[in-house]
């Protein structure tokens, strides 16, 4: 198995601000990889570098086996990108947006028609194909943006905060769609600040904090590293303390020994938010 994405000592500075600080990462073909971190952690900057939109300050970056600095045209042919903000032309229909993407990806007339019909059916948007983008629901708009990025059959799809602004139902439908895409052979690289999204969707998760990748592993392994059971205690209505344990027995034993002024105690399984808090001292949504 080869790497879809490989970075070595990748840095991106904006003046004195280190947006990406020495990033070393490899994402093998076929994986759903998630970047988890709060706003400003460097997730979108990383996507911009990987998708050739921004030049790295230093370090080596290859995407789809091509160097992003010297072979950017080859990189552009193997990637699809769905930006955080809806980047469709809202004065056009879904079909026209797809047609535009097919044209700039050099698909000939026959192939364009074929791919548009295939993809519309794939995402069940055929009956909305000739509707103006602005008349669609949030989930449909997102799907339309994704199919535009898939028009040239990219091997690797970047999704920047794919479910921001979607309701819970639309979010889950989109997760199913992303899983289906991955099962059909597309490597997925996504950024998110939703804990649940990273946990249920990603094969591996990288935790970003202040431009640094502080940990990478499967969600289960990341939880295990800090302790699979967590005890939350609220002392004097002020501050929540988190204590991690390898199993529930150890957690129960700890709770029995707590002083009487501890008012609230919650014992639960740990999640990626706990991993983030344990490793950075901050919540994902703090910044």
């Amino acid at each position: 198995m080869t790497d879809s994405i490989y970075t070595e000592n990748l840095c991106k500075n904006y003046g004195s601000v280190k947006a990406i600080d020495n990033l070393n990462l490899s994402v093998p073909d076929g994986e759903i990889f998630g970047f988890l971190g709060p706003n400003g952690a460097g997730k979108t900057t990383t996507i911009r570098v990987l998708t050739t939109l921004t030049h790295p300050t230093s370090g080596h970056v290859s995407v789809g086996g091509y160097n992003v600095k010297y072979e950017s045209d080859a990189v552009k042919k193997v990637i699809g990108v769905v930006q955080q903000h809806l980047s469709l032309d809202r004065d056009l229909t879904v079909r026209e947006n797809m047609e535009f993407h097919a044209r700039i990806q050099h698909l000939n007339s026959f192939k364009r028609k074929q791919r548009i019909a295939e993809l519309l059916e794939y995402v069940e948007l055929t009956e909305y194909a000739d509707k103006m983008v602005d008349t669609l629901s949030g989930g449909m708009k997102k799907k339309a943006a994704i199919v535009c990025s898939l028009i040239h059959e990219p091997k690797l799809l970047f999704l920047d905060e794919p479910t921001v602004g979607l309701d819970a139902q639309a979010r889950r439908r989109l997760w199913d769609f992303v899983r289906r895409l991955n099962k059909d052979g597309t490597t997925i690289f996504l950024t998110t600040h939703y804990i649940e999204e990273a946990e249920v969707l990603c094969d591996r998760v990288g935790i970003m904090h202040h431009g640094q990748l502080i940990n990478v592993d499967t969600p289960a392994n990341l939880r295990e590293k800090v302790g699979s059971i967590v005890v939350e205690t609220l002392v004097g209505n002020k501050e929540t303390h988190y204590q991690f344990f390898v199993n529930r027995d150890a957690a129960n034993h700890y709770v029995k020994g707590l002083p009487s002024d501890v008012k609230t105690v919650i014992i639960r399984e740990s999640n990626l938010e706990d991993v983030f808090i344990e490793q950075t001292g901050e919540k994902v949504g703090d910044q």
Binding site: K76, L86, S87, L88, D91, Q105
Partner: protein, 253 residues
């Protein structure tokens, strides 16, 4: 080589679809101001006035055609690009595609040429309706139309460059007030540059609309061809194209 032409068309295609959807409003709004200028300055205030040996109406019509080509091409290319870049973020889609920078620049400029060309031709026809003697012969008309389209292309490149370099609505509004508006009135569109002091004349030759107005007026009034203005317009085109390339490069730093 074929790829660059098909890429240019692909970039242009998107803006063309947009324009087709809103063509009536697009053309109508771009004609209001030049038609008002034509009636107010040419037919109203200018009656009975002679400039450089011609009636004011004959003098001002090519100036207003140049002005229309300038404002409509500039706005046509810059406004949609700015919306795509700042609000829809759809311009990034182009940057992430295998389309070359040259194709992006020319493709984005072409919508300005189409919009500017349609509006300028409409004003030209309105001008001919007011002063039919200005229609000399087919060669002059063809040369006039070619120079008008060249002007539209240069001004559209100017619009693309400005939209790429300025990244806020506020900045664009300031640019329009401080640069575009003074150019509209000062570049020999409504009065002869011969009436100005030499120093002012020299300064105005550093603005592209001056050359466009000079070229169109000289052609329409069958005056000697102003090669200096022709070269000036081409140089401005080259500068704006280089500016667009610089802005695209800067956007990915």
């Amino acid at each position: 080589m074929m790829n660059i032409f098909s890429d240019i068309y692909s970039v242009f295609w998107l803006d063309l679809r947009n324009m087709q959807r809103h063509w009536k409003a697009t053309i109508a709004t771009s004609l209001v101001l030049p038609l008002l200028y034509l009636v107010a300055f040419g037919y109203g205030l200018g009656r009975g006035i002679d400039v450089d040996g011609f009636s004011y109406l004959a003098f001002v019509i090519p100036g207003i055609v140049a002005l229309t080509a300038f404002s409509t091409s500039f706005n046509g290319a810059s406004s949609k690009l700015q919306v795509d870049k700042m609000f829809y973020k759809s311009f990034d889609e182009l940057l992430m595609s295998p389309v070359s920078s040259y194709a992006i620049i020319i493709g984005k400029a072409l919508i300005g040429v189409v919009r500017g060309g349609i509006s300028a031709i409409a004003i030209y026809l309105a001008g001919l309706a007011l002063a039919p003697t200005l229609l000399v012969n087919t060669q002059v008309t063809l040369l006039f139309l070619l120079l008008m389209l060249l002007s539209c292309f240069v001004f559209a490149l100017f619009g693309v460059m400005v939209a790429l370099l300025i990244s806020s609505h506020h900045g664009m509004s300031n640019f329009s007030t401080l640069v575009i508006l003074p150019m509209t009135f000062l570049c020999g569109t409504f009065f002869s540059l011969n009436q100005l002091p030499s120093i002012a004349k020299v300064v105005l030759y550093f603005l592209p609309l001056t050359h466009s107005a000079n070229l169109l007026r000289s052609t329409m009034l069958c005056l000697p061809f102003p090669w200096l203005s022709f070269a000036g317009l081409l140089i401005f085109g080259a500068i704006f194209f280089a500016g667009c390339l610089f802005a695209l490069k800067k956007s990915s730093v």
